[in-house]
């Protein structure tokens, strides 16, 4: 496959992953046949509207799908551990999975306000993780936690470590989350909308912090967001999802320069640009995201697509390679 051009074998490879959810309306497929790879040190962005399956994909990788509603219906999630061996996280028993979570692969969440346990101090929560995975004494773990807090840019870490989450600001809490996630030096960090809940200035700082730490520690990052601006700033490569399927995958510069899928085009056109002098109405994608329990038989974007043909409405396009990119569209835009 073209995306793996260098000699690094992928750290994580998701192969034909499908996730089913049982809901009151019946069983729906929230993620359908998704494949992608992440190399060590790479930043992969996953972008799409809410409900497109990007968060479900990340939860499936972590083995955190809500039980018993959600389950992996098909596919594999291979994570390379030390050496050439890899494990399939999809079939791993909970006990082994637990040893990987927080140590080999970590995750930070959208809501810094609620993602930390309110009744324990920041330090106690960090020490728990370090003591669990690194076999450190409480004393050593505490020193390491203070060090991590300093690294994520928290002033007075010796003081902050004994505070409770409600005593910290939203940005500080998200930094604490990052410190927790990176304290055991994971190979892969999944960041699910890490800055969405923060105010704009804090957003930029927190993003910068993630990028900086990634460079220092050399881990791979999967950044999940609905914000293409965030993708442009931080990622090497991006995956565009729509209704549970990957519609386009491309290196970030190619994606912004010449988006191939009509949905990606629509998303990029909808980004407001300050340079334009005249205030125009932003182009919007017409229509609504279809209900996952009532998907059209053909391309899931066909009802909202200006280029849709009868074939689009009848048949699902497969993801095919076009140079460095992959696109699932019968009538992709020209790579100009």
């Amino acid at each position: 496959m073209s995306i793996v051009q260098n000699n690094d074998s992928p750290l994580l490879s998701v192969e034909n992953l499908s996730v089913d959810f049982s809901t009151e309306a019946g069983c729906v497929r929230a993620v359908d046949d998704v494949s992608f790879q992440v190399r060590p040190g790479q930043t992969l962005g996953i972008v799409g509207e809410s409900g497109c399956g990007k968060s479900v994909t990340s939860l499936a990788i972590m083995g955190l799908l809500p039980h018993p509603a959600g389950r992996i219906a098909a596919g594999a999630v291979r994570l390379r551990l030390d050496g050439p061996d890899s494990v399939d996280l999809a079939g791993l028993p909970e006990r082994r999975m637990r040893r990987l979570r927080g140590a080999e692969l970590s995750m930070i969440f959208q809501e810094p306000m609620t993602a930390l346990n309110p009744v324990f101090t920041v330090g106690s929560q960090m020490v728990d993780i370090l003591a669990r995975h690194e076999r450190l004494s409480r004393r050593q773990a505490r020193d390491r936690a203070i060090e991590m807090l300093a690294r994520v840019g928290i002033p007075l870490p010796q003081k902050r470590i004994d505070e409770y989450p409600h005593e910290l600001s939203g940005g500080m809490r998200q930094r604490v989350m990052i410190a927790m996630a990176l304290s055991c030096r994971p190979g892969l960090l999944i960041a699910d909308e890490p800055t969405t809940a923060l105010d704009v200035t804090t957003q930029a700082q927190v993003l910068e912090q993630i990028v900086e730490l990634q460079r220092e520690m050399g881990m791979a990052v999967i950044l999940i967001t609905h914000d293409l601006g965030v993708i442009a700033e931080t990622c090497d490569e991006a995956l565009v999802m729509y209704c549970g399927r990957v519609v386009e995958q491309a290196p970030v510069d190619a994606l912004f320069r010449a988006p191939r899928h009509r949905y990606t085009q629509g998303l990029i056109e909808a980004i407001p640009r300050i340079r334009r002098r005249r205030l125009e109405r932003l182009p919007v994608i017409p229509g609504m995201v279809p209900d996952l329990s009532a998907l059209p038989p053909g391309c899931r974007f066909s009802a909202r697509c200006g280029h849709a043909s009868d074939r689009c409405r009848a048949e699902q396009p497969a993801l095919e390679s076009h140079g460095a990119s992959r696109v699932a569209c019968f009538h992709p835009a020209d790579p100009t």
Binding site: T23, S50, G51
Partner: protein, 308 residues
């Protein structure tokens, strides 16, 4: 994390295919959907069936169709089950089956009277204190609730029973006086929520009297709470009756499962279990049925609770 983001309303998919007939019926009322969910809940339907059977038995006793010979003492003492006396006889030679049947009527009388009265009281005081939240009226009602909740139940019932000196309604009054507080607390919370909704503000803007607004516009919107609370109070009432009968504070005349169990305490020591087993089985099945019914009702009216 949600499968259906909030911007996808049920009408959205219909908009995609304007030619196709709407696949979903338009949003039904709370009660319509609740009824549908309730009908699909097997445990709840079983509960409803049990309650219905007992209710028919109770109505039959009222109409004099059966259970008429509950106090007749002619037969021998402690007879075993036979075709004549299905469940045998008591120490006085009374037919246990007849007594258990007649007691069903007693249970429904107590349950219905107490549930109805405490629900009405709870609705009224709850609505008043919710509508006038943070005012003097609210303060007084909260104080009364606090006081009643602070007096241990059986102590209170005993005190009421003795204060009313043999009044046959003493037990009912005591139960009503204690059971309305929970309903009132729930209604108060709901009314505070409802008070700020548009239709209530509109009614206020029209200059309607607060009592009219409460009775016509607010209380009907708390019916789902009242219905569930009424079933819970019904169960609490017939369970309390058993204990109160044992303590000698129960119903004044007639017979009840509580009285039968109280009688049976001496019989079981002598090895005669029929009276005890029959009365407690009747009681258990009806209470169980009501509990299932009540649970199903709550799940149907509050789907969030069911999905937990």
């Amino acid at each position: 994390m949600s499968i259906r983001p909030p911007d996808m309303n049920p009408g959205a998919d219909a908009a995609l295919e304007p030619a196709a007939p709407p696949r979903r019926t338009p949003a039904k009322s709370l009660w319509g959907r609740a009824l549908q969910r309730f009908a699909g809940d097997r445990a709840a339907m079983a509960g409803l069936f049990i309650v219905a059977v007992f209710f028919v038995i109770a109505v039959g006793v009222w109409l004099g169709w059966w259970g008429t010979q509950w106090s007749q003492t002619g037969a021998g003492q402690w007879l075993g089950p036979s075709t004549e006396h299905w469940f045998g006889t008591t120490i006085l030679g009374q037919d246990i089956f007849q007594r258990a049947i007649f007691s069903t009527r007693t249970a429904f009388e107590i349950g219905l009277v107490v549930a109805l009265a405490s629900t009405v009281l709870g609705a009224l005081f709850g609505a008043l204190s919710g509508y006038f939240a943070q005012t003097f009226i609210d303060g007084v009602i909260l104080w009364i609730k606090g006081v009643l909740d602070s007096i241990p139940f059986y102590l209170f019932v005993a005190a009421v029973a003795f204060a009313l000196k043999g009044n046959p309604w003493a037990m009912h009054i005591a139960m009503i006086a204690t059971f309305w507080t929970t309903t009132a607390r729930l209604v108060r919370g709901e009314v505070i929520k409802l008070k700020n909704l548009e239709f209530v503000e509109a009614a206020r803007a029209l200059g309607l009297h607060p009592l009219v607004i409460i009775v016509r516009h607010i209380v009907p919107n708390t019916f789902h709470i009242l219905l569930v609370q009424a079933t819970i109070v019904f169960v609490a009432a017939i369970k309390s009756e058993v204990i109160l009968s044992f303590l000698g504070l129960g119903i004044a005349d007639g017979v009840s499962w509580g009285l039968m169990i109280a009688e049976s305490t001496t019989e079981v020591m002598a090895g005669h279990y029929m009276n005890f087993i029959v009365a407690s089985s009747f009681l258990f099945v009806l209470v169980m049925g009501f509990n299932l019914f009540s649970d199903g009702l709550q799940d149907a009216l509050d789907p969030k609770r069911a999905s937990r």
